[in-house]
Symmetry: C2
Subunit: 146 residues, 2 copies
C-alpha cells in the first residue's frame, strides 16, 4: 500500500516533467529538476549535458526552437526506492513545426528522480537524469489526441 | 569513504557488464542481470524489452550477429543509494563485422543496478535496466586501443 502511494507520487512527478515540457516554460522546467552539478541529461540525437547550468541551457534552446509539443506517455514502468526512483516510458510526441505542419515521433525515456526532503511531512521528487532516444521503427498508436 | 567504496563496487559491476558484452557469452551476461519480470532493456535503435526472458533473447540475437566487440567506456558518472545505483556513461565501441572490416560508434548508456543481499556480508549489484542510444555526431576519441 505504501509502495503504491510512492509509485503514484513518482508518476505524478513524471507527468509534471511532461507538463513542463508541453508548457515550453523554463520557469516550469526549473521546478522539475534538482539544481545541482551532478545531474545529467541526454536529449535524442544530442550531446550529454551535465550540471543544472548546462541542462537548463539545453531546455532554453529546445523551447526556443519548438512551436508546440504534445506528449502521450505510455508503457510507464516505475521502480521507487527510499530516495531514488526510476521511470522508464515511451513518449508519443506530436510536435508542431509551424501553423500547418507537425510531426509525430516516439522516444524511449529513462527518467530518474531523487527525493528531496524538506521536513518529515514535506518532500518532492526532483529529476536528476533524463535519457531520451528516438524509437527507430516507431508505430504511431491509434490514439485520437496525439 | 563508505560512499567511495560503494561507488567503486558499482563501477566494478558496470565494468562487468561490458566484459560480459565483449565476451559475447550469454552465460556471462546471465550473471550480470537480475532475472525478474520487471527489468527493462533498450538497445540502440531497437524495441524496449521487458522481463529477463525477453532481455535474454535480445542478448542472444546480438551475440549471434556480432563477430567481435570492444568497449572503451568514458564519462562514467555513478549515483549510488542504499539499494539502487545509476551509472551514466559513454560507450566508445569498436565492432568487427568480418575479418577485415570494423566500425566505431559512440553510445550513451544509462545502466541501473539493484543491490541483491544474500546475507549481511555478501551482496551483488545486478543490472535491472539498460538504455543505450547512438551518439549522433560521434567524435572518436584519440585512444589507440579502440
Amino acid at each position: 500500500m505504501k509502495n503504491e502511494k510512492v509509485n503514484r507520487t513518482v508518476e505524478d512527478s513524471n507527468a509534471g516533467f511532461y507538463n513542463a515540457f508541453e508548457s515550453l516554460s523554463i520557469e516550469k522546467m526549473e521546478q522539475v529538476w534538482k539544481h545541482s552539478d551532478d545531474i545529467t541529461c541526454i536529449h535524442p540525437g544530442w550531446e550529454m549535458f551535465t550540471s543544472w547550468t548546462a541542462v537548463r541551457e539545453s531546455w532554453i534552446t529546445i523551447f526556443q526552437n519548438t512551436r508546440s509539443i504534445k506528449f502521450y506517455v505510455t508503457n510507464i514502468k516505475v521502480k521507487a526506492f527510499d530516495n531514488i526512483a526510476i521511470v522508464v516510458c515511451l513518449e508519443n510526441i506530436n510536435s508542431g513545426i509551424d501553423e500547418h505542419n507537425s510531426f509525430k515521433m516516439g522516444v524511449f525515456a529513462t527518467n530518474v528522480f531523487e527525493k528531496q526532503s524538506f521536513n518529515d511531512d514535506d518532500h518532492a521528487w526532483l529529476m536528476v537524469h533524463h535519457h531520451g532516444s528516438t524509437v527507430a521503427n516507431y508505430m504511431i498508436p491509434n490514439i485520437s489526441d496525439i
